[in-house]
């Protein structure tokens, strides 16, 4: 073994971090998110000293619903990345295809992917843990719808950033949704969060879905207010994401970046 060759390969990878904030961010991103989520879960469980009511429903329900948000976001971003990786973007955008049509197509893909994934997780949760997600009842439909809408908004935002910053932003396709997880109160109620994070949480649609889910499981009635908040916020974020996408698409066409998205 020659150390100079080992050093050469080490150097080759360190060079990547020198100019890539996203790679640098990744070193700290996942441990920090894990620490936050598991820290808040621990605080929540500590309050009940192991006697948390509806323990299985809270956690498995939250996990299945979170996956819906994540799948719907990822499908949009990865569909765009597929075109980047296969150097097909130019072929698409010299055709009459409109950018909006491309986004709508990726939304269809996201619905297909999340339905497939949800089917598997719902059936497995029932077989393995006797957990029936449908105990949430009719509220399940608006919950899922809101999580899909939020996933789309994050997916379009991620796609926009990849379009603008190219390969440097690719990592966001797998990570951006998780940035919202600690403050979305997925596995614990908002009340567990510090006050400043509680304020931020109010402006995240997923927070209202998961708070609503817990209310339904605890038989506290249909969470109309939470759902109204979730729909309202999603409408604003989705519109903002689409407007930003169109704005950045114009900038990309002004700067000639479309040819370089994969670089």
């Amino acid at each position: 073994m020659k150390l100079h060759r080992v050093f050469a390969i080490t150097l080759r990878h360190l060079y990547l971090y020198k100019r890539s904030p996203s790679r640098l961010m990744e070193i700290f991103y996942w441990p920090l998110l894990d620490l936050l989520v598991w820290g808040f879960i621990t605080i929540y469980l500590e309050q009940f000293r192991g006697n948390l009511p509806n323990f299985v429903a809270f956690f498995l329900g939250a996990l299945i619903l979170w996956d819906i948000l994540y799948r719907s976001q990822q499908a949009i971003s990865v569909s765009f990345l597929e075109e980047v990786w296969s150097r097909n973007l130019l072929n698409l955008f010299v055709s009459p295809l409109r950018p909006g049509e491309f986004i709508v197509a990726t939304m269809f893909i996201s619905v297909f992917k999340l339905l497939s994934a949800a089917l598997v997780t719902v059936v497995l949760a029932w077989f393995m843990y006797a957990f029936n997600i449908f105990l949430i009842g009719l509220a399940l439909i608006p919950f899922v719808l809101n999580l899909v809408l939020m996933g789309w908004a994050i997916g379009i935002l991620t796609t926009t950033l990849i379009l603008r910053y190219g390969q440097k932003a690719e990592i966001l396709a797998w990570g951006l949704a998780f940035l919202f997880q600690p403050v979305s109160a997925v596995f614990y109620p908002v009340s567990v969060l510090p006050v400043f994070l509680q304020r931020i949480a109010q402006f995240i649609p997923a927070t209202h879905v998961f708070e609503g889910m817990r209310a339904v499981i605890l038989k506290q009635g249909f969470p109309t207010e939470h759902l109204a908040w979730a729909f309202g916020l999603n409408a604003i974020y989705l519109l903002a994401a689409v407007l930003l996408f169109y704005h950045i698409f114009t900038i990309v066409k002004q700067k000639g970046l479309l040819l370089r998205v994969g670089e």
Partner: protein, 245 residues
């Protein structure tokens, strides 16, 4: 006289301090094959991107098929097409799947018959179910050319279309393109670094350097103007003038 199908006036593209294309004006006539020639960094790619609506010009007007490109993108792009040796197709799709996707994008009616005809033209009938990723670079180029002819374009933008083809397939492709031009008045904007090919294919050649048009004319006119024996010598003269202080 043939109709003008591409009308470019005062086309300029500025990237901060760099002027990539500077006040360029020219026309392409129906059924004409216009070659775009110039050294690296001359502005060819920038110009093609603007003509395809991928890049917004800083100044100037592009009219294609009588319509302003900025305002009629969709109507224009449904009647033109593009192929480049530097653009691929999804590798994980088969040949037939890729062509089917693009046939749908262009709204082709009776797409199956059209695809089969193109597969035959490019001698790819046996490859229809092959994954694109398993094709050779020459076969991918043929697939891209087949894609470019799916919508029976009125104007074809070809960026080094024969660069990865073997001499036999390159010759067949040139004959095919010339045949299409002769039979269907197809207009072609053609770039290549193969000077013999440019002389053989192009009715006129537009020489671009440092974002300006240096010369435009038939290959014969260019040779006379620069006092050279062939197009390669003309190219070298222009490219090396660029290097002089």
């Amino acid at each position: 006289m043939a109709a003008v199908v591409v009308d470019v006036k005062g086309l300029t593209k500025r990237f901060n301090d760099l002027i990539a294309v500077n006040q360029v004006s020219f026309e392409i006539y129906q059924g004409e094959i216009l070659g775009l020639l110039g050294p690296n960094g001359a502005g060819k790619t920038t110009m093609i991107q603007m003509l395809l609506g991928l890049l917004i010009p800083t100044d100037g007007v592009i009219k294609i098929l009588g319509m302003d490109l900025g305002r009629n993108r969709e109507a224009i792009l449904s009647q033109v097409n593009f192929s480049s040796a530097y653009v691929a197709m999804p590798y994980s799709l088969t040949v037939i799947e890729n062509l089917t996707v693009f046939a749908r994008l262009y709204g082709i009616r009776k797409s199956k018959a059209k695809i089969e005809a193109l597969l035959k033209t490019f001698e790819m009938e046996t490859m229809r179910t092959k994954l694109t990723g398993t094709l050779s670079s020459g076969q991918i180029t043929r697939l891209c050319l087949a894609k470019a002819l799916l919508n029976d374009p009125k104007i074809l933008f070809l960026d080094e279309p024969t660069v990865s083809l073997d001499p036999d397939m390159a010759d067949k492709t040139r004959h095919l393109l010339k045949g299409l031009r002769n039979r269907e008045s197809l207009t072609i904007l053609y770039t290549s670094h193969n000077m013999r090919e440019m002389e053989e294919m192009c009715d006129r050649i537009l020489f671009l350097n440092k974002g300006h048009i240096i010369a435009i004319g038939t290959p014969k006119e260019l040779l006379e103007r620069f006092g050279k024996e062939n197009l390669e010598e003309v190219f070298l003269k222009v490219a090396r003038e660029k290097e002089e202080p």
